[in-house]
């Protein structure tokens, strides 16, 4: 899952980037309103973690811009202002959730999973495709009774495909969800991860649509 974190405190920003990365998210970071606007206009993110107080303005401005162009990307507001009135204001401005500083890293991750799940119209915390189950919180896949260990990127590709099993995802889309801006992308990386997934879960699990991309194979 690719998310954008907007936070001006360098230490906290780094902590969120690394920490959410460990929880399986692909994290891009910006530190002010202007950069956040630009990033959101040019890219598609699965969710945004937005600090309320930024050096060049208010996080709610970013939120307003986003909702103004009918962008439904789920937004989790982070703030040091933790009064009830602030929470109400933030939620009414279009945020999906609100978290007061200081927070628990795992809670941020859980809330991000919750708002993206809801945003995608699902309620179940696990993704299913036939006998294949993906537990998003535990970052594990199960084939029948057998637990299969996956790397972060393998997991991310499987998750993307399983969220919309019938849809074909281009290699480019998958790459975007795997890598933040700062990360170098190896040219054949998606093919490598798909190959490994097939090796672990059985070849029919992912279907290659020649010239277009990948989608989930027929459910077993």
């Amino acid at each position: 899952m690719r998310i954008l974190v907007v936070e001006d405190d360098a230490v906290l920003l780094d902590g969120l980037k690394v920490g959410l990365g460990l929880s399986g998210f692909t994290v891009d970071t910006v530190a002010n309103v202007a950069d956040a606007m630009e990033a959101l206009a040019a890219n598609r993110f699965d969710a945004v973690v937005l600090d309320r107080m930024l050096p060049d303005g208010c996080g709610l401005d970013v939120l307003g811009g986003l909702r103004g162009r009918d962008d439904r990307t789920p937004v989790l507001l982070l703030t040091a202002k933790d009064e009830t009135a602030d929470r109400i204001g933030g939620l009414d401005a279009g945020a999906d959730d609100y978290l007061g500083k200081p927070f628990d890293l795992d809670e941020v991750a859980a809330r991000l999973r919750a708002i993206t799940r809801r945003g995608a119209g699902r309620a179940h915390p696990q993704l299913r495709h036939g006998s294949l189950t993906v537990d998003l919180a535990g970052m594990v896949a199960r084939k029948g009774e057998k637990t299969v260990a996956l790397s972060r990127r393998e997991f991310s590709i499987l998750q993307t495909l399983m969220e919309n099993p019938g849809m074909i995802h281009s290699k480019q889309t998958l790459e975007q969800r795997l890598y933040g801006w700062q990360e170098d992308v190896e040219s054949n990386t998606v093919e490598v991860h798909v190959h490994k997934l097939r090796a672990k879960l059985g070849a029919p699990v992912i279907e290659t649509v020649r010239g277009v991309g990948y989608r989930m194979g027929i459910a077993e």
């Binding site: 001006d8 405190d9 780094d14 902590g15 690394v18 920490g19 460990l22 050096p55 040091a80």
Partner: protein, 462 residues
């Protein structure tokens, strides 16, 4: 005595009591005096009457004497108070000293030995007032006297008659005084009532228009105090909200990095997180210290500011405080101090905080290995303190923004955004100026402090 009511009542009771006592005493004296005169006149009249009665031979001596004694038995005294019977006693003596006749109540011995006029005598232990008149034609001396004890009793009875109504008035008077004081103090009680009915944080001014003139100065100062307290409380509230807010972000950063360190198996990630924690603790420590500095500068009261500070000494202390930061950033401080060591009138704490924060900023933003130049000089009646660093500096807009009390600066991982606000606030309280500008390759912060009216420093512009 702290109760005005009790005090007033006591004063009023004492003064009216004293006046009342004086009046009673005066009545007593004047009544006594008047009675003496009346009774003396009666003696004279009686003696003359006897003398004239016997002279004209209209009446026998004994009968005349009895007439005198009987004339005294006035109906009211005779009826009600038998004690007043036979007040007057009469004796008629021959000039040779023989008792010719006497009234029934008169003693057998001579009432007095004198020839004529008044005399006080003691007969058988009883005191008498006696009037004597000589009748030369008959060769007799007429003595008419009355008992002084009887007189005293009479005076006492008259006084008693006057005192009893006066005594009856005392409780009425006390009650009236009590009631009047109560009514008189009612406006004060109203003011006290409105004040005591307030909750602890009701600091709105007390309505003065309806209050009595005497209470207004008190209400004025009370309202001024309310104003100061509520301003201070407002500042405190803003400060606490700001401090809590400013501390939450670095705490969130620390917690997140700590969780990253705990979660990750990768040594590189763990070490990076720990390094972040270490620098963040330094920065948060600085933030806490600056918050305390800010509270100290903010609460520095202009009216209490006094004391002297030696500028070179203050600079030495500030440099010692910042030495570990300076070493860590490998910056050299080159100081050039052209002023004498003699202390000048400045608030030492404000001066030290201004210098420390301006120098700390310079050290934080100067590139590693570079020099920060500090110069202190006197120009006319002004003291100039310049701190120059070869760092990036800031635009005038940024500077303006940062000097605002609770404006947050860029979070570049170094400064807290509070330093400049503290410097600006301290310099203002010292009645000086702060200017920030780019000169050649340096960014220069200059503090200008007045020296001309050292006694007035800190008394204006807060």
């Amino acid at each position: 005595m702290t109760s005005i009511r009790i005090r007033l009542i006591a004063i009023l009771l004492m003064t009216t009591g004293a006046v009342w006592c004086c009046a009673v005493f005066w009545t007593y004296l004047s009544t006594q005096h008047q009675l003496e005169r009346v009774l003396d006149a009666r003696l004279t009249e009686a003696a003359r009457m006897v003398s004239s009665l016997i002279t004209d031979h209209h009446i026998e001596v004994a009968a005349a004497v009895d007439a005198v004694a009987a004339s005294d038995a006035r109906p009211e005294f005779a009826a009600a108070q038998t004690g007043y019977n036979r007040q007057l006693s009469c004796q008629i003596w021959s000039l040779q000293g023989q008792l010719i006749s006497r009234s029934e109540s008169a003693p057998a011995v001579s009432l007095a030995g004198h020839a004529k006029g008044y005399e006080d005598t003691v007969i058988n232990g009883e005191r008498w007032r006696v009037y004597a008149v000589v009748n030369p034609a008959l060769g007799v001396r007429v003595l008419v006297g009355d008992s002084l004890d009887m007189r005293g009793k009479l005076v006492g009875d008259v006084i008693k008659g006057q005192l009893i109504p006066a005594l009856a008035i005392i409780p009425v008077l006390a009650a009236l005084i009590w009631f009047s004081v109560d009514r008189g103090l009612a406006p004060l009680s109203r003011v006290a009532g409105t004040l005591s009915g307030r909750s602890a944080d009701a600091l709105q001014p007390v309505e003065e228009s309806g209050a009595p003139r005497e209470v207004r100065p008190l209400l004025n100062s009370l309202n001024a105090l309310f104003q100061r307290v509520s301003a201070a409380r407002e500042r405190e509230k803003t400060f606490i909200a700001y401090a809590a807010h400013e501390l939450k972000t670095p705490l969130a950063g620390l917690k997140t990095q700590a969780q990253v360190a705990l979660k990750s198996d990768d040594d590189a990630i763990r070490n990076a997180a720990l390094r972040h924690i270490s620098t963040s603790v330094d920065r948060t420590g600085r933030l806490v210290r600056q918050l305390i500095d800010m509270a100290a500068v903010d609460s520095a009261d202009a009216s209490r500011m006094a004391g002297k500070a030696s500028i070179p000494d203050v600079l030495t202390d500030v440099r010692a405080d910042l030495d570990s930061l300076r070493t860590a950033r490998t910056v050299t401080i080159k100081a050039h101090v052209e002023v004498a060591r003699e202390p000048v009138v400045y608030d030492r704490m404000l001066l030290a905080l201004a210098l420390k924060n301006i120098l700390e900023n310079a050290i934080l933003y100067a590139p590693a290995g570079s020099d920060v130049a500090v110069s202190v000089r006197r120009e006319g009646n002004e003291l100039h303190i310049e701190v120059a660093d070869p760092g990036p500096g800031m635009t005038p807009e940024e500077a303006e923004h940062l000097m605002g009390r609770f404006n947050r600066g860029r979070h570049d991982g170094k400064g807290t955004g509070l330093g400049l606000a503290i410097v600006d606030m301290a310099v203002r309280k010292l009645n000086g100026r702060l200017s920030l500008e780019k000169r050649a390759k340096n960014f220069v912060a200059e503090i200008t402090l007045p020296l001309d009216h050292p006694g007035q420093i800190g008394l204006h512009r807060n």
